[in-house]
């Protein structure tokens, strides 16, 4: 659906993105991840035809963004970082305006606006002035704006930034509901957001892609297939820690004081052995937790590795 080849963009002398290559298939939900200033917004703006790249090629639904920008724009719903809403318009009027602007057939404008309001749960506020709405609602109006023309592709630039946790959860819920109806590209620097809604992750840092994989694939690859296990016991913690080192499959033991941290190979039998060992030692097992490498750790590993080059 979206194909990007050798994309570069410079702001003056400063390169914002360098030689980006990736593609998004129809129906995929892709998380576009990176620290602030990595080039996420720039990439998205180029895909939407908002700005031109310095070099490279972008194709959306088979159309070149620069040769037929109107065809591309007709197929994209875009929510920029700041929702592009007029504070002195009513929600319903605004959505009608956007539907007209996006070229929704005249007789379908009303139903399109009503549909977008229903999807984003704006029913209660549809006759209110946008300027008087809370930030969360304004963000939803922004999302409704992107949805109103029922585009094949949704590009959402940090859709939950600045919202409170409840509003964030609502927007994420909404994005999950949209899965399957649209191809979605979602940028963020908030990791739980990606874990909550995306199937595929592209991590970008300093204008370059540092990883592109499915969520589970990424996690497996980065941890080298291993697990870390934390064990908490009531008594004799030091003795247990020492004896655990002799269990087969345990690679490293660290006694942190509050709990014991183990690094093991990925197999489940090792974990079973560890559990049995602690129980048999009679130390009073109260907690045993298996963690695969979290996205957060992957993210930090990837983006800081790049910085130390």
């Amino acid at each position: 659906m979206i194909e990007i080849k050798n994309l570069c963009k410079n702001y003056g002398d400063r390169p914002a993105i360098r030689n980006l290559n990736f593609s998004v298939k129809k129906g995929e939900v892709v998380g576009f991840l990176g620290p602030n200033g990595a080039g996420k917004s720039t990439t998205m703006k180029i895909i939407t035809g908002y700005m031109a790249p310095s070099s490279g090629e972008v194709r959306v639904a088979g159309f070149d963004v620069f040769e037929s920008p109107l065809e591309v724009k007709r197929r994209i719903g875009y929510l920029p970082e700041t929702p592009p809403v007029y504070s002195d318009m009513y929600v319903l009027d605004y959505l009608r305006f956007v539907a007209n602007l996006k070229g929704v057939p005249r007789e379908r404008v009303e139903s399109a606006a009503a549909g977008a309001i229903e999807k984003t749960g704006l029913g209660d506020v549809r006759k209110r002035m946008i300027g008087n709405l809370s930030k969360g609602y304004r963000q939803r109006v922004g999302l409704a704006q992107a949805l109103v023309s029922d585009p094949e592709i949704l590009i959402l630039d940090e859709p939950t930034v600045g919202l409170d946790p409840k509003q964030m959860a609502e927007i994420r819920q909404l994005i999950r509901q949209l899965k399957g109806q649209h191809t979605i590209v979602l940028s963020t620097h908030i990791l739980p957001e990606v874990q909550a809604s995306c199937e595929k992750v592209i991590i970008i840092n300093a204008g370059q892609i540092v990883a592109e994989d499915s969520l589970s694939g990424l996690s497996k690859r980065m941890s080298g297939g291993g697990h870390s296990v934390t064990v908490k016991v009531l008594r004799n913690q030091d003795a247990v820690a020492k004896s655990l080192a002799s269990v087969g499959g345990v690679l490293k033991v660290r006694n942190t004081g509050n709990f014991i941290e183990l690094e093991c190979d990925g197999s489940e039998t090792t974990i079973e052995k560890v559990a049995a060992h602690v129980v048999q030692s009679g130390a009073g097992l109260i907690e045993l937790q298996v963690q695969s490498l979290a996205l957060e750790d992957i993210f930090i590993k990837l983006t800081s590795k790049e910085l130390t080059h």
Binding site: Y50, A52, I76, V85, Y86, M89, F97, L101
Partner: protein
């Protein structure tokens, strides 16, 4: 076409419902009423004096009253139109709603034209208010309509030039304040382009500058004559500034 009308409709409604428009049209009517009434009453006074036995022929309402009224409309428009057009693009940029326009399936030309039509609509509404004065005069005096309509055609075209200039000023900046000031300076320059060159300019330069000055063309209209050269000139000014606006809007994609 639909995109242009959608944009123009939204912005026109926005302009006509803004407090700004009411303040401006209110203040303008106060000024117009004061000056028009004074000119008209003194005209009536003098006409009565002329009507004494032995004095032949009436005085010309067009020249004595309407000319003053219309030059005053023009004078106010130099200042007022930039205030009406200041928000058209500057505010879109400032509040990031420009992103919506630039990612919608419309071209920069649609944006420039839509915005121009909206500004034109608002200014024409103001012009319509000013037209009430001569129209009301028809209730108490007889006068030929044609020269008055010619004069108003001039007002329409000149205000179009101010709108185009104001729109261009608005496209250059994110600051509404700066947009007004720029618009004002452009308007005044267009008006006074032929002044201040007297003496040290060659006759040919002076003639060219005079042709480029709004004042000369506008004067023709007020006197009741519609010259093709003037119509073409004013339309080109409008076209030029709408075109420049379109270029500035388009440039947002390349920066």
């Amino acid at each position: 076409m639909r995109a242009v009308l959608t944009l123009a409709g939204k912005d026109l409604r926005n302009l006509l419902t803004s407090p700004m428009f009411y303040v401006i049209s209110g203040l303008c009517s106060v000024l117009w009423t004061y000056a028009y009434l004074r000119a008209f009453l003194s005209f009536a006074e003098r006409t009565r004096a002329f009507m004494q036995p032995g004095m032949e022929g009436g005085m010309n309402l067009q020249r004595e009253v309407f000319l003053m009224h219309i030059s005053q409309i023009n004078l106010l428009y130099v200042f007022v139109v930039p205030a009406l057009t200041m928000r058209l693009l500057a505010e879109e940029k400032r509040f990031r709603t420009f992103d919506l326009l630039l990612t919608s399936p419309i071209t920069s030309t649609h944006i420039a034209l839509g915005k121009f039509l909206a500004g034109m609509g608002a200014v024409t509404a103001l012009t319509a208010i000013s037209f009430i004065y001569p129209l009301a005069t028809r209730g108490v005096a007889e006068f030929p309509m044609a020269p008055l309509l010619a004069a108003y055609a001039g007002v329409f075209l000149v205000s179009g030039a101010y709108v185009a200039v104001g729109l261009f000023a608005s496209s250059l900046t994110e600051s509404v304040m700066l947009s007004v000031i720029l618009g004002l300076i452009f308007n005044i320059s267009l008006w006074f382009i032929s002044q201040g060159m007297a003496g040290d300019a060659s006759p040919m330069v002076a003639a060219v500058l005079e042709y480029l000055s709004l004042g000369q063309h506008f004067l023709g209209f007020i006197m009741g004559s519609v010259k093709l050269a003037s119509v073409v000139f004013l339309c080109s000014v409008i076209g030029l500034f709408v075109f420049l606006t379109q270029r500035v809007v388009e440039s947002a994609r390349w920066r």
